[in-house]
């Protein structure tokens, strides 16, 4: 933010993608805006601002949440993973690689939300069935792909994950 707005601010500390970050935010500041505009992590996108599209999904202590429905002050002291933190040691994660390999994205706006959602899903379920994959991505909207290659990408990511851990 370029200039003061006169609002009372709360100092919060959160661990984002493994890095301790501090911010001073008004009570009403959304986590999505805090990540994007206070911390400069613009990979998390906002598609609807009412928790329906899932583009803003980030991992809060490992679990997917809608950052557009979360006040930044409520995650003081917690751990956040955003799309910028999915690659490990500079290497793309199996989910990221699978989305690219399977053409699971077009405009890429909803993609960060899918990547975070699927990352948590495949961590908890390493050998998902077709039904489980469909269920896992059924809370995220995509207007470009018709979901065909997103579904393929989730299966492919599970496969890569298995190959690499096997």
């Amino acid at each position: 933010m370029s200039e003061r707005t006169g609002e009372h601010r709360h100092a919060i500390t959160l661990t984002v993608n493994g890095v301790l970050r501090e911010a001073a935010v008004p009570a009403r500041r959304l986590l999505s805006d805090c990540l994007r505009h206070d911390l400069g992590l613009t990979g998390t996108h906002v598609g609807c601002e009412h928790g329906v599209c899932g583009a803003c999904t980030v991992l809060l202590d490992g679990e997917p949440v809608r950052s557009c429905l979360t006040f930044a002050v409520t995650v003081d002291g917690h751990e956040i993973t955003t799309v910028e933190g999915l690659a490990e040691r500079g290497e793309l994660s199996p989910v990221q690689r699978a989305f690219s390999e399977c053409h699971g994205l077009q405009c890429g706006f909803c993609t960060p939300g899918f990547l975070c959602t699927v990352t948590a899903f495949l961590r908890d379920n390493r050998t998902p069935t077709d039904e489980e994959v469909l269920e896992a991505v059924s809370g995220n909207l995509c207007r470009c792909t018709g979901y065909q290659n997103i579904i393929k990408a989730v299966h492919r990511a599970a496969e890569i994950q298995a190959e690499e851990s096997g």
């Binding site: 906002v46 598609g47 601002e49 793309l92 960060p112 991505v137 065909q148």
Partner: protein, 800 residues
């Protein structure tokens, strides 16, 4: 050629940044910009009596408040009417900020600029606008009755009225042909409103450079070059002082081809006035109520046909609801009325449309752009003919197909580009044969009987379409090989996820014989390419693809000439492989393109070791020739344009099998099959992705999406919670097959693929539900409760 790249499933080059959060979408830019927000009309039709901003002035962080009265010069004038047409006798556009009257909920009235968006919205909420509420006009048929007017100076609420008539080969008019036909049918069809609804809304970010007196605008647009011209004109700036960049754009689907949006001129104006960076990012509610919708039409159809189902005469009357304003002219109803005839030879055709004002959000093209309505009309007509005659639905279509030997085929009308509607190529019988085989058309009756025996209702439907793609007037491409061997490609049209960086790089790498890793592509940046039209009408691959290929051929010729001099060879004996020019059959006689690029630019001053080769004392030179020969230019670059005489015509056919629940009327798509012909495929993976996305949107339009306006003109479902776009659970698996009939109109033989998937879906699903239920389906979308009511009505009618 190095590796064959054209036609291959090359992985996308866009992905690396998009999967790591490194994309640059509009709201990712301008971290220090002020935020704009708007007070928008809460009424569908009202007169503004007063705007009182006094309560907002105390908001800390407020920077400025503007109303229409603050706008200088051309900014205060109505927004441009982008596509005038002689039939659009009463075209009307809104103002950047409403002047006196508001004509739809969502129309911008006041602009607020503040430290951040939260504060800007605080200020907006404190601004009091006093409205005198006027009677709203909602619903196209009510509007056509003209009890109340949307614009006081537009009689009958009619913006445009157009008739196109094509007589039969023996000179009968459509109405005469219908009268004379052995069989006739008359019926009404309805399609509701939907919208493009990209996941990223619109957005504008402007930086004024006071020292340089220049403006840079970023906009989430489908046409940066046209935004640039509009901004320069509205602000009275010299064109070279304005640059417009389309950054990564989170989907467009048509809505972002409209321009300049009020915000696209207001934000740059405020940035200049305040000498501060200003940004506006549309929120989802704003997108619902202040951008654009499409689709809503009512059709009245009369058709005459013979015993084989051949259409002898077709007469269609279309009521088109274009909302409150007509910035995009009458392109949508023109496309509906001309593309309606699809792959068929219609004996005689008459189509008439009235384009009508209502107090609702304006209507401009959304993927498919009027075609889904036209195809719904034609395909429902085909199915009705088949039902009337007791014929197989595919037989009726076959009886009407244009045959492969009949191209170029003249439909006798004027298309959306103002040019004759002449189809370039296609093979419709083969397309249908492939489709029937894939879906198992001939074995379906047995499958249906089997399902019925289990108490299940299933049905099959088919839909065919022809899509005019690659409309002009032109696009250009610029290609430069620099002395490091890199190839820089640019074109003016924009990208919203179509994979242009990949397919244009495939074209350039193939044409030049260089590794694709050496090629970079820039789109939608007026700093790199100033002349362009934009991305719409499935035109990018055809227009920019061919322009880039032609520019590459120029550069290749030049490279061969320079290399021939250096190698003392005949240019005709040279080839380029893997970025190296060599004499065919003699690989040792070679020179890298990087060096050729160095030699193409005679230097006085070297900037590295390699470029010393091009300096004046470096070696052999012909003292009788100037260093840059007559008619030549320094540097290894070329530019060319592609401007076609008329559109290419892609086509396709879809089929679906649906199951309807006997109790709940739930509709489930069991199979969805697509045969698609967009000419030569540049990248099959990307084409399939385009088809998938189109079908996904088509399923939304067929079963879920509609804009629900009440009688006051309030949009009741302006959120993703209430406007139901399909999730992964709603889109069935899509099976695709390609047919390739190359276009004879362009060097690459390509047609467009962007919109195709969405076009016939409503027609196909309607047909399949009709087949499952035995109930006539004449309006879409259809929900389970709609179907439930239809069943009840049908039962009631039978009893009566």
């Amino acid at each position: 050629m190095t590796t064959k790249l054209f036609g291959e499933r090359v992985q996308r080059r866009e992905d690396a940044r998009l999967i790591t959060g490194q994309g640059r979408f509009l709201d990712d830019l301008g971290a220090n910009a002020l935020a704009a927000a708007f007070v928008r009309s809460p009424h569908a039709h009202a007169r503004i009596r007063d705007v009182d901003v006094s309560a907002a002035l105390d908001v800390e962080g407020l920077v400025a408040i503007y109303t229409w009265e603050d706008l200088p010069g051309l900014l205060a004038e109505p927004l441009p009417l982008l596509i005038p047409h002689p039939a659009l006798t009463h075209g009307r556009t809104g103002h950047a900020l409403a002047r006196d009257i508001v004509r739809h909920v969502g129309e911008p009235v006041v602009m607020v600029v503040a430290a951040d968006r939260y504060v800007a919205e605080d200020a907006c909420s404190l601004i009091e606008v006093d409205y005198e509420i006027l009677k709203p006009v909602v619903g196209v048929e009510e509007a056509a009755e003209a009890v109340n007017l949307v614009h006081a100076d537009v009689p009958g609420n009619v913006g445009a009225h157009l008739v196109q008539e094509v007589p039969s080969p023996d000179g009968l008019s459509a109405r005469e042909a219908i009268e004379a036909a052995p069989h006739t049918l008359a019926f009404r069809l309805d399609i509701e409103r939907s919208a493009s609804m990209p996941l990223e809304g619109k957005g504008v970010y402007a930086r004024w450079d006071a020292d340089d007196q220049s403006l840079r605008v970023y906009s989430s647009t489908q046409t940066s070059t046209s935004v640039r011209m509009a901004v320069a004109a509205k602000l009275g700036l010299p064109l070279p002082k304005v640059e417009v960049v389309a950054p990564d754009v989170g989907g467009g689907f048509g809505v972002k081809i409209v321009h300049p949006w009020p915000e696209e001129i207001l934000v740059p104006w405020a940035a200049r006035l305040l000498d501060r960076e200003v940004k506006w990012t549309e929120d989802r509610r704003e997108h619902f109520i202040s951008s654009a919708h499409e689709r809503a039409q009512v059709h009245h159809v009369r058709v005459g046909f013979d015993d084989d189902g051949r259409v002898l005469g077709l007469d269609v009357n279309i009521l088109h609801d274009h909302g409150a304003y007509t910035p995009y002219g009458i392109i949508v109803p023109i496309i509906t009325s001309t593309q309606l005839v699809g792959p068929y030879k219609i004996g005689a055709y008459r189509v008439e449309f009235s384009s009508i004002y209502t107090n609702t959000v304006q209507v401009t093209p959304y993927r498919g752009a009027g075609r889904p309505q036209g195809v719904f009309c034609m395909e429902r007509t085909m199915d009705r003919i088949a039902a009337h005659l007791g014929l197989d639905r595919t037989e009726v279509r076959t009886a009407n197909f244009i045959q492969p030997g009949e191209f170029p085929y003249d439909q006798g009308m004027t298309f959306q580009d103002g040019r004759p509607l002449i189809y370039d190529s296609g093979d419709y019988p083969e397309s249908l044969r492939m489709l029937k085989e894939l879906i198992g058309w001939d074995s379906f009756p047995a499958m249906k009987a089997e399902a019925a025996a289990e108490g299940r209702a299933i049905g099959i439907g088919v839909g065919c379409y022809v899509e005019g793609t690659g409309v002009g007037p032109y696009e250009g491409g610029h290609v430069q090989i620099t002395s490091d061997g890199r190839v820089h490609v640019s074109t003016g049209l924009t990208s919203q996820g179509q994979g242009h960086e990949t397919v244009f790089a495939q074209i350039a790498a193939t044409e030049l014989g260089v590794p694709i890793e050496k090629v970079s592509v820039v789109t939608g940046d007026t700093r790199r390419f100033g002349y362009a039209v934009g991305t719409f009408a499935s035109r990018a691959a055809v227009m920019s693809g061919n322009a880039i290929a032609l520019a590459c051929r120029k550069v290749r010729d030049k490279a061969l000439k320079v290399a021939a001099d250096a190698l003392e060879a005949d240019p005709r004996d040279l080839e380029i492989t893997d970025g190296v020019v060599h004499v065919a059959g003699t690989p040792s006689a070679s020179i890298p393109l990087a060096t050729v690029a160095v030699l193409s630019n005679p230097l006085r001053y070297a900037f590295d070791k390699e470029t010393q080769r091009a300096t004046q004392f470096a070696g052999a030179q012909d003292d009788d020739r100037p260093p840059v020969a007559d008619g030549e230019e320094p540097g290894m670059e070329g530019k060319d344009y592609y401007s076609p005489i008329r559109s290419t015509f892609a086509s396709g056919m879809h089929a679906a099998i649906v199951e309807t629940d006997p109790l709940t009327a739930e509709i489930k798509i069991l199979r969805y099959v697509v045969v698609h012909d967009c000419g030569k495929l540049i990248n099959p993976m990307i084409v399939e992705g385009q088809i998938h996305g189109g079908v996904g949107q088509g399923v939304g339009g067929a079963l879920y999406e509609k804009m629900v306006y009440d009688e006051h003109g309030q949009l009741l479902n302006a959120s993703f919670m209430d406007f139901l776009m399909p999730y992964a659970t709603e889109v069935p698996r899509i099976e695709t097959a390609h047919l390739e009939t190359p276009s004879p109109l362009n060097p690459l033989g390509v047609k467009g693929a962007g919109e195709a998937g969405v076009i016939p879906v409503s027609a196909v699903i309607a047909a399949a539900i009709e087949d499952a239920e035995g109930i006539t389906i004449d309006r879409m979308p259809i929900s389970p409760s709609d179907l439930y009511s239809l069943r009840a009505e049908t039962r009631l009618r039978k009893i009566q």
